[in-house]
């Protein structure tokens, strides 16, 4: 029997490019074969002749014939990706790593703290949680961005606030004249929510500084270390725990993560770098 080549990407047709904010676009891809993943797992997305980069899909894990990947322009590969138009083919390999253990969230409240482009994996998680909402008590999303323009997935918030058991709040560091929601860092939103900490899990995903201050605040609020899930998406390269590029303490982020509990990482040096 021929085994699957884990390094070989499958072809996926780019069908739509959605502008989310000036440096962020969402790419809608139709893979040539069914592509299943668990929310929080990541993929390597490639452009022929250019290179590949790791991303966590932002689409529902329950949709296997279409994949959405939100890409922030940060380097050479992502800059090329931002210039792509619908119709071209890209490569996908994966999925890799350990996602969110949503099956352990049953019967609980889920508090999600997100910042900037960290909302991409969170959107996939939100789709997964919507799928099992009858088994959840409540889902609260607190999201922060620098300015209203930097806020991604704008229609998502209205939709969540009109979905039973879901609450979504946004804040920005620097408001404009039209902004009518909260102002301040994302942790300030924790002053307005009502959450039963004893029956709750927390998820944090965003820039390292946001993850650090968010985690500290959650610990102060009384969250247990093993019930704070961190999406540590950094430096992943091979996706298979071979190259060592993403090594963090004793862990390979790509293989052992990217989702970890704070309890697993708390003794790892420089986790917020």
């Amino acid at each position: 029997m021929k085994s699957k080549n884990i390094y070989k990407p499958i072809k996926a047709k780019l069908t739509e490019v959605i502008d989310e904010s000036p440096p962020i676009k969402t790419f809608v891809l139709i893979p040539e074969e069914e592509f299943a993943f668990k929310t929080g797992q990541f993929i390597e997305l490639s452009v022929d002749g250019i290179g590949e980069a790791p991303f966590t899909p932002s689409s529902s894990p329950h949709v296997t014939d279409k994949l959405e990947v939100t890409v922030m322009k940060t380097g050479y590969v992502t800059e090329i990706m931002h210039k792509l138009n619908p119709g071209v083919f890209m490569g996908i390999r994966g999925p890799y790593g350990r996602g969110y253990p949503v099956e352990t969230f049953f019967g609980k409240e889920v508090l999600i703290l997100g910042g900037g482009c960290g909302l991409a994996p969170i959107r996939s998680l939100l789709y997964a949680l919507e799928h099992i909402k009858d088994h959840l008590e409540k889902v609260i999303l607190c999201y922060g961005s620098k300015t209203p323009t930097d806020c991604v997935y704008k229609p998502l918030f209205n939709r969540l606030n009109n979905t039973d058991k879901f609450e979504a709040y946004r804040t920005v560091d620097k408001p404009d004249e039209e902004w009518s929601e909260s102002v301040g860092v994302v942790t300030s939103l924790l002053n307005k929510i009502k959450v039963n900490i004893a029956n709750s899990v927390a998820v944090v995903c965003g820039p390292p500084i946001m993850m650090k201050f968010g985690t500290i605040r959650l610990l102060e609020m009384g969250y247990k270390e093993d019930l704070i899930y961190l999406s540590m998406e950094k430096n992943m390269s091979c996706g298979l725990g071979k190259c060592g590029h993403c090594m963090m303490g004793e862990y390979f982020v790509c293989k052992d993560g990217p989702v970890f509990t704070y309890n697993e990482l708390k003794n790892t040096p420089d986790i917020w770098k």
């Binding site: 102002v183 860092v185 300030s188 605040r217």
Partner: protein
Amino acid sequence: MKVTADDLKKIRFFDNYTDKQLDTIAAISSIKEFKVKDILFEQYDELVDVYVLLEGSLSLGISLANDKRIHLGTIEEGQFFSWSAVFKPYISTAWVMTVTPAKVISIDAKKLNQEIEKDCDFGFKTMSKIAQTISQRLSDTRFQLMNQLTL
């Protein structure tokens, strides 16, 4: 408008106070209402009251030398603010303005300080809660600063 102990029981800031202590706070408090864009106090004003937001939304910020207002954060319902009224020199470190019509509980800061002096348990609870508010404000400010430094 008068405040009762039952009004205070509904607010997170007043958790853990005894009924007698809540009666004490109620006796030195009143409810004040503000319209949109009303200024509750300016930066560097001398403060005589501390507040807890009951309804609405408030913006907190600082002013620059050219009178430009910088919004630093939103005060949410149930939050305590104007803590400078309890500590010397009783001068506000920020301005607070309404974003929507707002209703606040206004507590006479001088009388609150007298009660803090009189009743150790009441004083410890109140100072702990104020310290927590200031600590969170400091943590948020550090977070904002780190955000700016890493831009």
